[in-house]
């Protein structure tokens, strides 16, 4: 442990906030979970046909309020794979 780490102690609240936001977005849609899981697998399969991706870097979420449901798909493609695809 260096003397500088005393001054660089990470703040923990931002991490708590981020973890909660991710978790609750997932838990609030208990009903839609099954659909989201199926979609995630199929989307993964389609993308994997063309580019090599990390399974953990694919986020599929469903957000809904009284008026509208929003399906969000977030796929992180590694730099090497996107160069190959180009």
């Amino acid at each position: 442990m260096s003397i500088f780490s005393l001054f660089r102690k990470q703040k923990s609240a931002p991490l708590a906030r981020e973890r909660l936001q991710v978790l609750l977005a997932h838990e609030r849609n208990g009903v839609g979970n099954e659909l989201v899981a199926v979609l995630r697998e199929e989307i993964l399969a389609v993308i994997a046909k063309h580019v090599q991706i990390d399974r953990d870097k694919v986020h599929v979420t469903m957000d809904s309020d009284e008026h509208v449901s929003l399906l969000e798909i977030d796929v992180e493609i590694p730099l090497s794979a996107s160069l190959r695809a180009a």
Binding site: S12, R17, L20, L23
Partner: protein
């Protein structure tokens, strides 16, 4: 007809009973007629926090099962004559609470009191769902800490689906009561800030109760904190929350946001 308030949280130990006693007393100190009802059958504690543990003769289960009349079970507070307690049973279990019995008791209390404040047990089972069932207003007690916020989110979901109001298609009025808030820790970035919790749970804020020794001291002597030490920081926060519950439009001041440079420098050591 009185208003039915449920004080709930999902997680245990966040301050439901303390808050029920403090809000009930604060309303009674404004001359409102208040009854606080303990729904934690088997693990009652509201009697102890209110200092009425030696005066319990009959309880909620006795009334539901017809062993006692409702007025026999009500305990009048020794300090405030408009404050009453309906204790929970300590010996029976929660299965003795029937939906019909609870409905009847709440209906009767509403006729005679301005406020019926239901102290929910922790968890999401029978006791908790029955405590919230007939509520007009919910006070969701939350600590600025991940597990409490998660459980509050779950409870908000139940309030919007399992209550009579929700089933009738009406909107349940929900308020967030943030308890055990430590402004210094939040400022250092080691505790969720008020705005973080508000953004995540997205229900309006009714008050912020600072972490304080006064709360423990009040429960030690068996008095709601608003009675034990009306000038203390948590008592003032509960008084303000009670005024907001009555519909007053009172801005919530976040503790620590008004700190000057002096206390910022010297407050860190504390």
């Amino acid at each position: 007809m009185g208003k039915v308030v449920v004080v709930t949280s999902g997680k245990g130990g966040v301050g439901k009973t303390t808050s029920t006693a403090a809000l009930g007393a604060a309303l009674a100190q404004k001359k409102e007629k208040v009854v606080v009802v303990d729904f934690d059958v088997g693990l009652r504690n509201l009697d102890l926090v209110m200092g009425a543990e030696r005066r319990v003769v009959y309880d909620l289960v006795n009334v539901i099962q017809g062993d006692a009349k409702l007025p026999q079970a009500l305990i009048r507070d020794k300090r405030l004559d408009t404050l009453f307690l309906l204790p929970a049973s300590q010996t029976r279990d929660k299965d003795n609470l029937t939906p019909e019995g609870v409905e009847w008791v709440i209906g009767e209390l509403k006729k005679h009191f301005d406020w019926v404040i239901c102290d929910s047990p922790a968890g999401i089972e029978r006791g908790a769902t029955l405590a919230m069932r007939h509520a007009d207003v919910a006070v969701v007690v939350t600590n600025p800490e991940v597990s409490s916020v998660r459980d509050s989110d779950r409870i908000i979901g139940l309030l919007d689906s399992k209550t009579l109001k929700a089933e009738r298609g009406e909107r349940m009025e929900k308020h967030l009561l943030l308890t055990r808030y430590d402004a210094a820790r939040a400022e250092r970035g080691d505790m969720l800030k008020v705005e973080d919790v508000l953004e995540i749970l997205s229900i309006p804020l009714i008050g912020i109760i600072p972490e304080s020794m006064d709360v423990l001291r009040a429960s030690n002597v068996g008095a709601p904190v608003t009675l034990a030490d009306a000038k203390s920081a948590p008592a003032m926060a509960y008084f303000e929350a009670a005024r907001r519950l009555c519909g007053e439009d009172l801005p919530v001041v976040v503790p620590g946001e008004k700190r000057g440079i002096f206390s910022k420098i010297f407050g860190r050591a504390a």
